[in-house]
Homo-oligomer: 215 residues x 2
């Protein structure tokens, strides 16, 4: 496969992991093409053979860029940060960078995987709301505590970082699963500040070409 | 709290996330003190208030180092790699570095969280083996495919990287949950090669001070 000058993002409008990458692309001002992979329709387009060769994990996002295909949102975000110009998403200071990764991993390993589509499908329709709420609330309680040590205007200090790219889609998921947010004042404050920024607006699920009109 | 010259690792012998960090510390030749946090005894020592202030997520590992406390294994491993001398765990080449993070995240976000203690406790004694096996097998199948693109002697090329620090503890978990490994020849080959290395041997769960005699 010849490398294309324009990256191609395999995405689904409502996937929180895809949203993280869309924010990074917007924040860095990287032009890209989108291929929508509908995770619901036809039993899930991520299961077709042509997509399996792109991402064997059968999940979005995946990004074809510079002649390789990358999956896993944080690997993609950090690759973009290390190879593309524009405002940096990982701070220069090693301790702050570690805190950004700690918060990012807390969300992407500690919260999000437990409300992933294939997990909720295994839990079953009847129990999935209680299951998702349990792990989102536990995870956000810990995050609210962590942020007391690290937050300024955003998750770590006063610059937008990779941690913020994880926060906003996770809060969006919390709302989808009807989790009340009043017990998380720091998270809510940061989330509201981030939603004012262009990169977060244009990448919002409701603005994606594959979003149905009512979303 | 004054910063200590010697880092302190909060760990549990059988925690695969703690093992990742122990390998990194050994690989980099960093001397450290251990505090054992028994995740089972007394309903789990991670729930006591004194530990909650160390890691609000109430999980191991946590590393007190350079005046801060870090949790999340990959954040810790990358902080050690960026601040300590010794062989590097993230390759210099940006594409290879992205592949290392992709494989690491695939294991730490895509497989391990679904067989974490607090998840299996919620699934219940009766169903937990089938649940863990399902997600480990699915995850290792995808990993076996990914490795066809990236592996040399180890997960990415011929140098030990952060991805290898994730692979070995995950294979150990697979064995604990009675997953047959013959369908994963690349994973088995790399795992066996890694287990020959000192850093993987000294950090093994069975060699830890908090391991019971029979483990």
């Amino acid at each position: 496969m010849a490398s294309s000058p324009k990256p191609v993002l395999y995405t689904y409008f409502r996937s929180s992991c895809s949203w993280r990458v869309r924010i990074a692309l917007a924040f860095k001002g990287v032009a890209y093409d989108q291929v929508a992979v509908n995770l619901i329709k036809d039993g899930g387009q991520q299961h077709v053979d042509s997509f399996k060769t792109i991402n064997p994990m059968k999940q979005v996002p995946a990004l074809a860029i510079d002649g390789i295909v990358l999956s896993q949102s944080l690997a993609i975000v950090q690759y973009l940060d290390e190879t593309r110009p524009g405002p940096r998403l990982l701070p220069e200071d090693a301790k702050k960078r570690a805190q950004v990764r700690m918060i990012s991993d807390h969300i992407t390993s500690g919260i999000q995987p437990l409300q992933n589509l294939h997990v909720l499908q295994k839990i079953g329709e009847e129990k999935k709301l209680e299951w998702a709420q349990h792990f989102i609330i536990t995870g956000l309680q810990a995050l609210e505590s962590l942020l007391q040590y690290t937050a300024g205007q955003y998750c770590v200090g006063d610059e937008v970082t990779m941690a913020d790219l994880c926060l906003v889609p996770q809060v969006y998921n919390a709302v989808r699963f009807k989790v009340g947010l009043t017990q998380f004042p720091t998270i809510v404050k940061i989330n509201n500040a981030l939603l004012e920024l262009d990169a977060f607006k244009v990448s919002h699920p409701s603005c994606q070409p594959d979003a149905p009109p009512q979303s």
